[in-house]
């Protein structure tokens, strides 16, 4: 069942990586990076389950922090609409 969870999460990562082909916009790319950081965090937790070792949970914490910071920085580059 853990293998099935990993396959489903990998499928979610693939669908997320396919999204910029459909949604063409600056904000959509930033959203894709935001959700990809969450999915990599989920993959880190699943790696901890697979190895039976709690060390990858700390990688997940770091990935969550870096994902938030990168989202904040990249959202500065979104072009605002003309008033």
């Amino acid at each position: 069942m853990l293998t099935l969870a990993t396959i489903i999460l990998g499928l979610a990562v693939l669908i997320t990586l396919f999204t910029p082909a459909v949604a063409k916009g600056d904000a959509d790319k930033v959203i894709v990076i935001d959700i990809l950081s969450f999915e990599v965090l989920g993959l880190c937790i699943l790696l901890a389950f697979h190895d039976e070792n709690p060390l990858p949970l700390q990688f997940g914490l770091l990935v969550a922090m870096l994902g938030f910071l990168s989202t904040l920085v990249l959202s500065r580059f979104i072009k605002p609409p003309k008033p």
């Binding site: 069942m1 489903i8 669908i15 459909v22 904000a27 894709v32 609409p81």
Partner: protein, 90 residues
């Protein structure tokens, strides 16, 4: 057993989030799908981690991850959405 079930439910939440990201029509709707569903998936996966690794250090790391995600996901969502709505003041 319950750990596997929680991990499977969390992965399904991520799948729902990415399908919503692919199919929803607007940027605001995509922000909604990405933030809410993935935060729920992280909650389920972290609960599974807290059940699987009952040592105090692991529970602390898991709680820190959960608090960090639940604090920062709405802030990132708000940063993107406010940039989409109003022109910036430079």
């Amino acid at each position: 057993m319950i750990v596997d079930l929680l991990a499977l439910l969390g992965s399904l939440c991520f799948l729902i989030a990415s399908v919503g990201l692919l199919r929803l029509p607007d940027s605001f709707a995509r922000i909604h799908a990405a933030t809410k569903a993935s935060a729920l998936g992280i909650l389920l996966l972290v609960l599974a981690a807290m059940i699987q690794f009952p040592a105090p250090g692991s529970i602390f790391i898991s709680l820190m991850t959960m608090v960090l995600v639940f604090l920062t996901a709405p802030m990132a969502c708000q940063a993107i959405a406010s940039r989409l709505i109003s022109p910036s003041k430079k």
